[in-house]
């Protein structure tokens, strides 16, 4: 219940934050919303000697949904994502996903950056970002670089984020007008991590699916891009046969661990069901 001691830093600028990170190597952690890190610190599963608090960095906030690339500052909270009319209009899967993360209090603090960057396989946004083919702009002493979400996740709590780097923003290619989307998540109770979840983004033209992306949450030690599953939808009218095949292919790549949510075979099965239901809902949204 009580964390170990640490030194606390609260930089006023991004440059200052980067400098602090650089001077403490691997003994420093970033606190954004704090609702992943602080619970771990309270259990003493994480005992960093230093904490750098990013809350004063205005340059990491903000939502720009005007152009062909939607840019969301990493410190944008889930609550801000949900209440953004601009995001609701341009990339509504974000709100649909965000409402299924944790609970209202956590959503006031939890940030998009924290949810995508810490590598927790249970987090919901990573799969959504993979489905949207988003990229992460990270910054550090060596400057800025963009990492595609699809290349970002290496293993449980292992990402492409280097030591001393901060995720600054998430960049999403604006989905086409009228695109279909859904985030379907099964959980033991509201706010729980997914037993399995599926993010689907697709477009239809002339009644036929001409693009699709499917990604899975919490059924492996990273989010999974179900490329073969999505391919099963292309060129089809998203009929039952196509959807069933997509679900089968998605289930085939799921490798969940057994936990309180159920044994591995059950969770993989649920992944398939989530894909089915997500595609069906995405089709409705696209209509």
């Amino acid at each position: 219940m009580i964390p170990a001691s640490f030194e606390y830093h609260r930089p006023r600028s991004l440059d200052e934050a980067i400098a602090v990170l650089a001077s403490h190597g691997d003994d420093i952690r970033i606190v954004a919303g704090g609702h992943s890190l602080i619970p771990m610190m309270k259990l003493r599963l994480a005992q960093p000697g230093h904490l750098v608090d990013l809350q004063d960095l205005g340059e990491l906030r903000g939502i720009d949904a005007d152009g062909s690339t939607i840019v969301i500052g990493a410190m944008t909270t889930q609550h801000a994502l949900i209440t953004s009319a601009a995001l609701a209009a341009t990339v509504p899967i974000l709100r649909e996903t965000s409402i299924q993360i944790a609970d209202p209090q956590v959503r006031y603090c939890g940030t998009l950056g924290g949810n995508v960057a810490n590598g927790d396989p249970g987090n919901d946004m990573p799969a959504v970002m993979m489905a949207l083919d988003a990229s992460y702009r990270v910054t550090g002493k060596a400057g800025e670089r963009d990492i595609p979400a699809r290349d970002f996740y290496q293993g449980a709590y292992a990402t492409s984020l280097g030591e001393g780097e901060i995720l600054a923003s998430v960049r999403i290619p604006a989905p086409a007008d009228g695109h279909g989307y859904a985030y379907e998540k099964q959980k033991r109770k509201i706010g729980d991590y997914a037993t399995a979840a599926a993010a689907v983004v697709l477009t239809l033209s002339g009644g036929k699916c001409n693009s699709a992306a499917i990604a899975l949450t919490n059924v492996a030690d990273t989010p999974l891009l179900a490329t073969e599953a999505a391919a099963a939808l292309i060129g089809t009218g998203l009929d039952d046969t196509a959807i069933t095949e997509a679900a089968r292919r998605a289930q085939a790549i799921a490798k969940p661990s057994a936990d309180g949510r159920g044994p591995a075979d059950f969770r993989a099965h649920v992944a398939g069901v989530m894909v089915k239901r997500a595609v069906a809902r995405a089709r409705e949204h696209a209509a």
Partner: protein
Amino acid sequence: MSVDIESAEARTQKLEGLGAKRKRVEDVRFTQGKGNYVDDLKFPGMLFGDFVRSPYGHARVKSINKEAALKLPGVKAVLTAADLKPLKLDFMPTLAGDVQAVLAGGKVLFQGQEVAFVVAEDRYIAADAVDLVEVEYEGLPAQVDPNHAMDSGAPGLRDDLQGKTSGAHGPRKHDNHVFTWEVGDAEGTDMALKQADVVAKELIVYQRVHPCPLETCGCVALMDKVNGHLTVWGTFQAPHAVRTVASLISGIPEHKIRIISPDIGGGFGNKVGVYPGYICSIVASIVLGVPVKWIEDRMENLQSTAFARDYHMTGEIGATKDGRITALRCNMIADHGAFDACADPTKYPAGFFSICTGSYDIPVAHVVVDGVYTNKAPGGVAYRCSFRVTEASYFIERMVDILARKLNMDPAEIRRKNLIRKEQFPYHSALGWEYDSGDYHTALDKALKAVDYAGLREEQKRNREAFARGETRTLMGIGVSFFTEIVGAGPIKNCDILGLGMFDSCEIRVHPTGSAIARLGTISQGQGHATTFAQILASEIGIPAANITVEEGDTDTAPYGLGTYGSRSTPVAGAATAMAGRKIRAKAQMIAAYLLEVHDDDLEWDVDRFRVKGVPERQKTMAEIAFAAYNKVPPGMEPGLEAVSYYDPPNMTYPFGAYVCVVDIDVDTGVSDIRRFYALDDCGTRINPTIIEGQVHGGLTEALGIAMGQEMAYDEFGNLKNASLLDYFLPTAVETPVWETDYTTTPSPHHPIGAKGVGESPNVGGVSAISNAVNDAFAHLGLTHTQMPHDHWRVWKTAERLDLTTA
């Protein structure tokens, strides 16, 4: 003198007595955050205690090194078993006649067991010091399957019981055996089962769960060395019992110990027993001469404090081919964890499990319970039920449904056929209980009508046909439960805890200006006693409830009682309250007669005053009598207006209910949606309908948690897999459906106001109704029984076994 007084009805309303929807007095402070819970207490110089706990389920403790911890600035002491042994406090008696390690000596027997107690200036330093205590363990294989705990090869877990061939409850047949308890007619039941037209047999497991009140356990111990006086504030559901036990084990005389239960944030049975934290805090306070606070965190609460259930019941039920039950047998294993820390009345190591003939007229029955030790947390307690009554009720309600399946009978119909009839009350059950009153058939009819049961079964038929045709992937289930609880422990002749008879008490003092204070031997943890017991008194003595202060929980002032759990407050302390109130009224009558210069018998009671019969304008209100008690009592009478009652109930009380649950199960995900839940409760006289309704809502929500997701699951190494709220299922407002409540009223004939108690009925009836509904959804496809909890994966596995999962 004006005779223009309000009508009896208006005056009755003003009293806010029995039956009134009185607003709770407790709410004024709770809604302002001005409750006084034990962690709110602060004293000058107070230190904080925290435990080093075993990470292993079973291991030898090779060494404990306190050096580094003691060197940390702010650390005042580190206690181990070696420090407690000379004080004979390394073990403490449990309420079940066993002993429990306060701090582990040679061995740890469950994950989370207390190994050392660190005392420091604040909880942050204490937490750091806990990490600095070095303990060397040597792992041992863990015994976590109670069904194999008594195998001939199974190693004995309890070094301290080595060679002891008998325990508190009789002979022991194995090192891991706690007791065998038997009740009923073995031969008669065996014969009846052999002769029955049909017998259904099933293993019914009631999984280990935990009461998990929102406030964890804790205390502040303050040894005043100058006066030799020990005060302990704590989360105690039975403060007087704690005082007596504390005196017996510490040697401090009982009049020098004061136990105070302040506001308690939920108990549900978790706060009945005595925990090592209390003992260690007391010892630390005595040794260090300052107050010591101990507050466990949630993981500690789940890992180490009293669990509930963990009963493995093999049932056999025999019946005629028309569905008339002829016999019931239960052989069961009770898993008590590492120490038997049950809080049952002494003579009942399996509590009142023998209520397992339930609401049915079963002529012969036999129960055998074997208690065993395993490498799990010690216990168990009655989690929002009377002692082992949920287990018993779940057992019979499942067996009756299983029998109904076998006979292809409707579950409501088989119940109707077997329910004890009204004219059979008081009813003597085959296992020795005398049920006080009940009108079961009326309740069942009312419930079935309210939900349109026939309509529901029609709808289910159509659903099943649609499912078979592939038109839907949802299966509808309807669960019926008709439970009878046995609460209000209890008559001293058969109910005591460690020799303390389970009476309860009320002491009333009426002040000159007509208000009063009442103190009870019980202690509310949210049940609203300060509100409801004033209502009982208001009706008895004609003083408005608003003018009656009700106090509980301070053993220096409250009369001795056995506390609050097992729905006993209303049946026992409520009775004491009424009886004490009647003593007050009897004295008041004599004073009134004296003041009015008439004979006692010339007076009649009218809501809040005595009137002369036939001359109603000649009257004395209770308020007038109160003042007179302090200056104008009849010659020979003591002044004052005060009474106390210690009530030894003649029997338990038997609240009952009829519940119906409708569930829709998504076969592809295992997700169950409780579409509708109707609960009809009969708790006898209803003191405060709003509070009753609140108790039913709360109990049903706890039942939902148990039936649909709670379990304390251990792996084969004795690791607890769900020691936090991430995995231990507590429903939120989203999972909780709207509960429909209804009632009938069958007063208890032996209770002074006919009340039976209600707090725990919904947990008892709710679990059965929900579980029966889930089982019912698959019954037509061949399912006889699936074990709780009915979480998504288990329900899906049930569907998979029935070949339903490939569409």
